[in-house]
Symmetry: C2
């Protein structure tokens, strides 16, 4: 278990006197491999539940305390499980979805209520001598250590360790110890499965609350020995979920146990006398299964089987499996940062949570909040592909494939949606759980067709990185083809120029525009990737009805795609006419008016040059091959001055382009901002769950920002540079059958930078270092100097919207 040092929060500052604001305001201790804090703060309880959530891509448990209260949002989620609710429209329109999906809090198996003597264990009463929790990124456990004296004066130590197993997909487990600290104690434990927990689906809309307050209808309950199962079904979506629990008990003295199950509650009760110096240990194994097809008995059997396997594995076995899985992950995925311990920690926490959101999803999606909360209703958006999948593709490609398999499984819905919209191919939804469109505001939903190019780009990247021919045959060519068909039917030619009108790009402060440059160039890539895939796999293409004419049309559209450009200003336009719009009066916009969308109507935002999040800048990252270095510099400066970052999806991309255009310190500032989005609760809503895409961005800044990695056309290139504060960044990428380790160092004396490329596994590869080809053979690391960067003109952000300057120990 984690070694608890028992440091009081007030003492914490002494260890990191030079830490910058993000971590200085944080209650979490800076540590390379754990995220720990002491004390109980009710104000940040919801945020800590999110940050301490455990998941494996299939099951997610928020970090609520075992005793159930105090709590904020006691969520337990199984990926893909949702309830339907009406989507009301003040004025409806053709194609507006009429019902929506919301992830629901399923049967809670985390609860172990404790009574000491005659007092319930509730830290809001009595006195807390010590309380600490720690998320261990290598062990994959959430550890708790509490010393508490009951209101009647009985001191007790409660320790617990909790995991959601990466090895056993259906399983969560809790090891719960109680030790009396002063004399013998009578102790009662109630270990529950509890469905329809109150307060689990907060909503400001009374209509929603009515539908979602008790979404589960009890279908089945059974209990015997220490084992119980509950099966429930949602009222509207008709999905069935089974939760089962079993227990292992270590008791020093007399004990009585009972088991019961009915309706929404199953309970295993342990009553014991625990002598001083001994402890009561309860190991609780919890299993989940859900289905829209399988019967209640079948689901019951499924969770009982999972529990039996887990009992056989035993607690120590589960712990060992968990560590082995994570050792393997970190050995291929770790990002090392020398010179900024807090940032090092934040990046690892981010990578850990992305892993948790995806590792065992197997046919389900990576949602915006992972399995850490029901913000955005638990929906998946385009950012899964653009911001979360790159890390997974290059470190754990099977998890990336899981997500794309889910997209492929929803092709039927996407084709039906395209048809409903009068389009060809597939139109993937802006937001969804099941694959159905859930967007209630079409100018920033349906019109944001770029979600389709995101799916296609992630598919093409996955194929390029893995060469997975099975996936290509079964899903890859089809995903690329159907999205390409969508673009071919959305766009139109004026002579040879291909235009896409009336769409919304990534920047949600601009909507329904012509020739959004990001959309256009990503569509062009999609069309090219589809043409390439169909030519590579003609037998698959034939089954999809693709002929040479269709491929030729795709190539013609890709070649002719419009890239609006303002000759007077010498910059590309985010969309046609964007640069002649009125400017936003940033000087007059007070800090309290951000995020702007809460204080200004869309009308005001859309008609002005104010940008919520990287849009053309993202195009310069993902389609950097289409811009000259000079264009990138000018464009970056122009759009930087108009981007307010009212979205967590912006800073990472700005960091990547800042690094590419030589603004390394700015890139470093943005890196810290994106890495601390959740640890610092920078958007004030980590209560509702983590920002998985921003977490992906933390990795992206290391690799694509300071590593300068690009993978245009499947060719992986690097252009590494360090910010002044850091001595070293190292990362690893798995692709083309190799594991490549890239390490960028600065010489402490000369200040010169060099990069080492090392193939840790695989046959070797060719890459490029600052434009020069490099052949890297196994066991023959190549070290190359980093060219000295030329000076650049500083760029400006809107007033009051510059990122905080990052000062680290190493500076």
């Amino acid at each position: 278990m984690t070694d608890f040092t028992g440091v009081n929060p007030a003492d914490r500052g002494s260890n990191d006197a030079d830490a910058t604001e993000y971590e200085r305001d944080s209650a979490y201790r800076v540590d390379p491999w754990t995220l720990s804090r002491t004390g109980l703060d009710l104000h940040t309880l919801a945020a800590s539940e999110s940050l301490y959530s455990l998941a494996n891509g299939h099951i997610g448990l928020r970090g609520s305390l075992e005793e159930g209260e105090p709590r904020a949002v006691p969520g337990t989620y199984v990926n893909g499980f949702f309830e339907e609710r009406p989507l009301p429209h003040a004025e409806s329109g053709y194609g507006f979805p009429e019902s929506g999906e919301t992830a629901v809090n399923v049967t809670d198996g985390k609860i172990i209520r404790l009574f000491v003597g005659d007092s319930p264990f509730d830290m809001r009463y009595g006195s807390i001598e010590h309380h600490e929790r720690a998320l261990d990124l290598r062990a994959g456990t959430l550890d708790r250590h509490t010393e508490w004296t009951s209101p009647s004066g009985t001191p007790v130590r409660v320790t617990s360790r909790r995991l959601v197993s990466f090895a056993q997909r259906s399983l969560a487990a809790i090891c719960y110890d109680v030790e009396p600290l002063d004399g013998d104690a009578y102790v009662a434990l109630q270990s529950d499965l509890l469905a329809n927990e109150s307060g689990s689906t907060p909503s400001s809309d009374p209509r929603d609350a009515a539908h979602l307050d008790r979404p589960l209808r009890a279908e089945f309950a059974a209990a015997r020995d220490s084992r119980a199962v509950l099966v429930h079904r949602t009222r509207r979506s008709k999905l069935r979920v089974a939760a089962g629990m079993t227990h292992l008990l270590e008791v020093p003295d007399e004990v009585e146990t009972t088991i019961e199950a009915a309706g929404d509650l199953a309970r295993y009760t342990v009553t014991a006398k625990v002598p001083r110096g001994s402890r009561l240990r309860l190991i609780k194994l919890v299993a989940y299964g859900w289905s829209h097809r399988r019967s209640a008995p079948a689901l019951r059997d499924q969770v009982e089987a999972a529990l039996s396997v887990a009992r056989l594995t035993g607690w120590d076995g589960l712990i060992e499996q968990q560590r082995n899985f994570l050792d393997e992950f970190w050995s291929r995925a770790d990002v090392e940062i020398d010179g900024d311990p807090a940032l090092q920690q934040a990046v690892r926490v981010s990578m850990f949570h992305i892993l948790q959101s995806a590792a065992r999803a197997e046919g389900q999606a990576i949602s915006a909040k992972g399995l850490s909360g029901v913000g955005y209703d638990g929906h998946t958006f385009w950012d899964a592909e653009v911001f979360a999948l790159p890390m997974l593709t290059y470190t754990m490609p099977a998890a990336a494939r899981d997500h794309l398999v889910w997209r492929h499984a929803t092709l039927g819905e996407a084709r039906a949606r395209a048809k409903e919209l009068g389009l060809r191919g597939a139109a993937f939804p802006w937001r969804t759980i099941s694959g159905k469109e859930n967007s209630g505001y079409w100018p920033a939903g349906t019109a944001a067709f770029h979600v389709n190019s995101a799916v296609a780009a992630a598919t093409a990247r996955y194929l390029a990185v893995t060469g997975d021919e099975d996936f290509e045959t079964v899903a890859g060519v089809e995903l690329l083809t159907e999205t390409a068909r969508l673009w071919a039917s959305i766009g139109h030619f004026n002579d040879t120029e291909f235009h896409i009108d009336g769409v919304t790009g990534p920047d949600e402060y601009t909507a329904i525009v012509d020739d959004n440059l990001y959309t256009n160039v990503m569509a062009a890539q999609n069309l090219t990737d589809a043409a390439d895939a169909c030519e590579r796999r003609p037998e698959v293409a034939a089954t999809l009805g693709v002929d040479a004419d269709e491929i030729a049309l795709w190539r013609r559209a890709a070649a002719g795609v419009a890239m609006p450009y303002n000759d007077d200003l010498g910059v590309h336009e985010q969309s046609l006419g964007f640069t002649r719009h009125a400017e936003w009066d940033f000087a007059a916009t007070k800090k309290k008016f951000y995020p702007l969308l809460l204080h200004y109507p869309y009308f005001q935002l859309y008609r002005r040059q104010v940008i919520k999040q990287a849009d053309l800048t993202l195009a310069m990252h993902l389609r950097g091959d289409l811009f000259t270095p000079e264009q990138k510099e000018r464009n970056f400066a122009y759009y930087e001055a108009r981007t307010v970052r009212d979205s967590s999806l912006s800073a990472a991309t700005q960091a990547v382009l800042a690094a590419e255009t030589g603004h390394l310190e700015l890139a470093y500032d943005y890196w810290a901002e994106v890495a601390f989005v959740d640890l610092g609760d920078l958007h004030g809503n980590v209560d509702d769950g983590l920002h998985i895409a921003a977490m992906g961005g933390s990795w992206m800044v290391a690799v694509a920002g300071f590593g300068g990695m690009r993978d245009h056309g499947g060719r992986v290139t690097f252009a590494p540079r360090l910010p002044r504060a850091l001595q070293r960044i190292a990362f690893q990428l798995t692709y083309g059958g190799n594991v490549l380790r890239v390490s960028i160092r600065r010489d402490g004396d000369t200040g010169a930078e060099e990069a080492t490329y090392e193939v840790e596994a695989g046959p070797g590869l060719r890459t490029w270092h600052h434009g020069e080809p490099v052949d890297v053979r196994p066991d023959q690391p190549v070290t190359l100097p980093v060219p000295v960067a030329s000076d650049v003109e500083p760029v400006q952000q809107p007033a009051r919207r510059a990122p905080k300057r990052r000062h680290s120990n190493g500076r």
Copy 2:
């Protein structure tokens, strides 16, 4: 009373063998001054209730039968009276209204239930020997004549005449006669006031239904003699309405009467023996009052006083007042058409209903459906000013002023809305009853800022026509100033060019565009009118804080306003970039896919060159001074080919521009289409109420289309021409202290056309005939030849969207 000829519907066709489709499909008899039909058709009952509605701008009664059933929508409305309901949003946004207003069916005073012997009088049972109803456009009454035999075999004649008094604003009255046709009959009459009638607010949304099913809470009830009063209050909007009734009875024999009132029902019961050859006459007087301030006793007293005045006036007096009012109206307003009797009738019906929607509004608005139904929730839109007010301004200016007084009274709301949107001045709502924004879809609501220029243009027109200095001082300058300020804050300068970005013009198949030409040129007029008014009335301007700098800014913006133009095509652009959008595939669009908005998503409509309703064409009408004749011709042809007329607000404007550009037969086709919108139920929704704006369009085609009347800058000019089918069109306009009669005739032999200008009252005036000045003195009519029109290239509409060809008797 109307002379009922008793013609069977089946015989009707013989009188008008050459009638075209619109009236051939109609059950209404062609007649110059009445709208009558025979028989009872349950399928068109709702439509007939709308067409037979009676109103005076304050009270509106749908034309439901006195006996209550059968009925479709038994509406009784008092102008401005509404209930609030929540406006739900699937995804809310800043500035989205959270509650909406719906006109409610108030206490129904139309009901007089009849029992003959032991049978209720219900025409769905027994047998109908004859049934006819007629709306008399000169008498202002709805007349009914029914001969019916009860299921038990008792024949009876029921005749009624109903009016909503133009002279006594709070009053409606019904004269109801019962005559037994075969032997003595025992007759019972129940004359009701009934609140919270069921089935009165149809809604597909169960949430609405719940709120609006019983919107009225009973506050007070009283009855004595033949008089009763009910006072109710709405649950959310807290508006109070009082309804009162009193009765005059003429009975030939024994009679018993009772009166009662409680809760939602007041009832006067008459039981009488009516000998053969005699009749029972019940005259029912009904009065209404509503207020958001006045107490229940005050409202009660108000309606009782109104009833007393009406009793004193007596039935014959009410009838006489009504005819006097209408004689006066028609003497100043009538439009005469020789050569197309059905069109003549349709135009008069249209004018009558506009008059009914406005005559005694006095501080309330003209809504889209008048007081004939609750389509569009009873809301008022921009079309009141653009399509309904012109007729009133030139024929009954006091009614036009009433509407503008209402707009002025809502300036507080409009200023608050502008502020909420981050704008200056006033932002009038897209749709409203009280003055608060009710629009639930902002791209076609809030973004349609042109409603503000509509208010301003109507204000400027009213001032130019009447020279009403009181109104100018109290309201006119302020309305012009506050709307001008809105434009100044919405638009922005690029050098000297003034641009208005991100707005929606009249065409609802295009939204959120830059430089919508209609919006721009109407805003420019608004700015100019405001500058002129402030310079004309500097003392008023000073109280509004207008200084010379602000006026200079307005003039600079007006002078610099952008008018997008495509040089390659030689046409103006509806909005920037419109003409480079993809074309709609009209050839592939089947008839059943219209209206397009019910079959295609906004996304598909917005990004293509498909136009719901006249937009740039309307700009060429209202700002014709900004276009050359050649530009009008080319623009008209270009936009005509892309306009599908999925709105009733389009055909009239297309007729006006067709006439101006020499397409006289096309203009005639459009005239018929707009005139028969309701009589022919061309949009399939006359059940919900009449299309008041289209009715205004019927007048507009006569005056601005074939009369060629324009009033740019307050200068009234004419360019008359006739379509081949007509021998004569004559109309009258009241302006500048004159009543001008314009008559356009074709010589039957030579085919030559001439126009006569005659001042019927007033000091005389200067006008223009086809560009040449004409001075017209009292009693000195001026007759001038109409220049021979040059041939023009035919224009094309989208496939399957050409108007029906109009063939009339005179052709």
